[in-house]
Symmetry: C2
């Protein structure tokens, strides 16, 4: 006899114990509607929070118990805690007064896509585990390749294709590893300690981290010096010289990461001239346009990636400035087999006819993790609910607001714009008073602290040629001209106050 009674007993007990079922369509409906209202109310009141959280380290441990609850609690109880305990510790990236780092766009379409993806909750490592997840990703990346006027080599219909990574860090790691293994297949594994990576000193720290993870000699990650004479772009001559020196020392140049829109100042490396150098020297040419790539769907900004047709791989983050919720980093490669050779695994428990027949893409072999979310849904929804024209308007409005901010800075002679504004980032600083002992670095450090501690605005900084510089990055979807004006007013007021003390 099958002891069926046991399971009935168990199910009964479960019903009594749990207030909320693990899953149930009607309970999900009821609770999720409450959550929608909570989130909509958050956006309604988002300007009432300090943009940069003002809590002290360890604040939350004092507010929460030190063990997980034994018994279930109600959603209302949890939402009260979110309001009272969590939100004070949140730095509000979606606030219209957020001008820090680079933006990380949440949009209605992106949010809806996240909801749908979380609702289906599939794990799309192989085609078979949800053909729609793989196919929609390839299609949407082809759509965007087309919108960006990428060459056909980057389309999935050829030898290349696009893939959604979590972040630009992962994108650069997978192409670095693919390039590493490709050259090692030629020169032999023992050459690993001789491989040299190149980028400008303005490149994102993720490149050095990728070298560390990939077992490359960190000393051979050459971050070539830039300065204001090239607007902090990498000079092809400097690159050529470094490569020649390394070859002369018996080393093996194998990878260049060029940047379109660096993190510090949105510098743009000269892709066509760099491409020539990489071609001559058989170097993998990666173009990182994590932030600025989004702008290139506008015809008037497309020229910033001229030369990308010579690249081996190209990356932009839809989660930065393309209305797609985090995370969604788009990577295109010309030679997908290079990725697959480095990253594929084929354990028995994942084998299936479609994969064995080489009829399909299995994105697990294009990325670091095995599991993967249905990320293309949100990008697809963004493209459809806004259309390319809507996205172009979004980009243009932010760039126009940054240009406006730049003009405001220029008109106040106490300030200086320290690097050309190319996209929606303005790098500027308050000039130290004449005869000041401070070169301006302390002054601007103090200024940013004063401004951010108001809670009314959040901006961050960088250092360019030794100068501490303020970064004003426009890009939050809720930002309007009035927020830019208000931010500038706070900056002016705090500058006035500081200069009085400095005098």
């Amino acid at each position: 006899m099958v002891p069926i009674f046991r399971y009935q007993e168990m199910e009964q007990k479960e019903e009594n114990d749990l207030n909320l079922k693990a899953m149930n369509a009607e309970e999900l409906r009821e609770q999720a509607h409450k959550m929608v209202d909570f989130i909509a109310d958050y956006y309604k009141t988002i300007e009432s929070f300090p943009v940069l959280s003002q809590v002290q380290p360890g604040y939350l441990g004092k507010l929460l118990p030190d063990s997980a609850p034994t018994c279930p609690e109600s959603l209302q109880h949890v939402l009260n805690d979110v309001q009272e305990k969590i939100l004070p510790g949140v730095t509000h990236w979606q606030s219209p007064n957020y001008f820090a780092y680079f933006p990380s766009n949440s949009s209605i379409a992106g949010f809806l896509g996240e909801m749908l993806s979380a609702g289906l909750n599939i794990v799309g490592f192989s085609w078979i585990t949800s053909p729609a997840a793989t196919e929609l990703e390839a299609i949407v990346l082809d759509w965007l390749a087309k919108a960006l006027l990428l060459s056909h080599d980057f389309f999935s219909t050829g030898q290349g294709g696009g893939v959604i990574q979590g972040t630009a860090s992962e994108a650069v790691l997978v192409v670095l590893v693919a390039a590493r293994d490709k050259i090692l297949r030629t020169v032999g594994r023992t050459a690993l300690p001789k491989l040299v990576t190149y980028a400008s000193d303005q490149t994102h720290s993720s490149l050095q981290k990728a070298c560390q993870i990939g077992g490359l000699d960190p000393e051979l990650c050459r971050l070539l010096k830039t300065d204001s004479s090239t607007n902090f772009a990498l000079s092809p001559d400097v690159l050529s010289e470094a490569i020649s020196d390394d070859i002369a020392s018996g080393l093996i140049p194998f990878f260049l990461c060029a940047n379109v829109g660096t993190t510090s100042s949105t510098a743009v490396d000269p892709l066509p001239a760099l491409a020539k150098v990489t071609r001559t020297n058989n170097i993998w040419f990666h173009v990182d346009a994590a932030y600025a790539g989004s702008a290139c769907i506008c015809p008037e900004y497309r020229h910033f990636i001229d030369g990308v047709e010579e690249a081996d791989s190209f990356n932009m983050n839809a989660h930065k400035w393309f209305l797609t919720n985090f995370d969604c980093s788009l990577l295109w490669v010309k030679e997908r087999s290079a990725l697959i050779q480095s990253l594929s695994t084929n354990p028995e428990y994942l084998k299936n006819k479609a994969s064995e027949g080489n009829m399909v893409i299995d994105y697990k072999d294009w990325q670091i993790p095995l599991g993967r979310r249905f990320r293309s849904l949100k990008l697809w929804m963004v493209l459809r609910l806004y259309g390319l024209e809507g996205l172009q308007a979004h980009i243009r409005s932010h760039i126009a607001m940054a240009a406006y901010f730049e003009e405001l800075v220029v008109q106040d002679k106490r300030f200086k714009v320290v690097a050309p504004r190319t996209f929606s980032l303005v790098c500027f600083r308050l000039l130290p008073p004449p005869n000041s002992k401070d070169n301006g670095n302390k002054l601007n450090h103090d200024l940013i602290d004063l401004v951010n501690s108001t809670g009314s605005v959040f901006i961050t900084h960088t250092v360019l040629s030794g100068e501490f510089v303020l970064r004003f990055a426009v890009g939050a979807p809720l930002t309007e001209v009035r927020h830019v004006k208000a931010a500038w007013q706070i900056l002016q007021e705090k500058a006035t106050a500081l200069l009085q003390i400095y005098h």
Copy 2:
């Protein structure tokens, strides 16, 4: 004069062009309520879909246009396409008839947590970018460490701590890299090609992939043979011998990945005995309990990770069997400084007082990517909305259903259970008829194809000691005893049909 009119014009144009605002509280509310109903209706009708998608490769390209739309479309239009074009290509991981691979739980609480995290859409790389995200993560991982009775060394209050990775693949990669760099700091970087990694041949393919990515010699990733004599667990003697041989050959053993609940058959490696071997040989001891770790919150299953107190790192996936939506992989380490030494970066543009003062955790230095989602929210909501008792009931119900299925298999003499059922996975096969030329592999291959093509159930396979074996993994939150019964009935029917052909 500041040319303010330009921006007004632009804003006007934007309003005319976009049907849906990039972000707006009331429009978000309206659209997100629609999406809630769509998702709730999906769960209501989930049993009406074939569990395993039955589409052919390339199906979606025929249904979608080949360019992104220029103009915005309506949400209703997109949802119609989801229903008609996307859902047929979805393999329904949340179906109660899904018994493939391992489960990937979606729950009401997990879904609500995803919604909230997507709504806030913060990027929590450093403490300052949302202190609540970092602090809640440390707190919730401490809660779970407590629930799992991990030793205090794994708590964030000591030298260790927990962190949420995307997947177990990323977890094993970061500890492998930390272990690699730790030993290289002692023996020198030139020893990289001599480093040896160990695991059983049942370990997950992510270990080999991590070795590939980390620049380790793939030939020196030793997957030690197991068989049914140890129920496919790694023998400490076999490990000892391999290590001795490698040392004798001048190689450097440095990493062991032990498994609690292997992917093929949920085999459990003997942690205490393996720990002795690693201690003697100064080897990093990682315990991968990606699937089975969840069960260890039940006192009666906790003994399966006895010995974890000797480990350097421990991993379980809350997104598998802990009601937490994908992705959410929990990693604990005893020595967080080892992770940080390998993975930290400190670019100027991310510097801030809290980080510089070493007062806070910056999780960017515990993981591969820089950016990170607010993943702890969903885990916290799962713990609070279900409580530990609710989670234990969930685990127990699945194990009871798997035990029930196992009894059903045992009662049908045409079938055989081929590995002990320890958790909620049953490994079994249909026995070939006497005098059959087939050893049963083709028979079971045909059986699984027949069963999965009904669309009424989805199971996957593995190979154990050369035998093609069917895996029946219970774990979807909607699964009830009736679904297990129905699945067994289909298996029996198709077996009967097949055996008639084979005779």
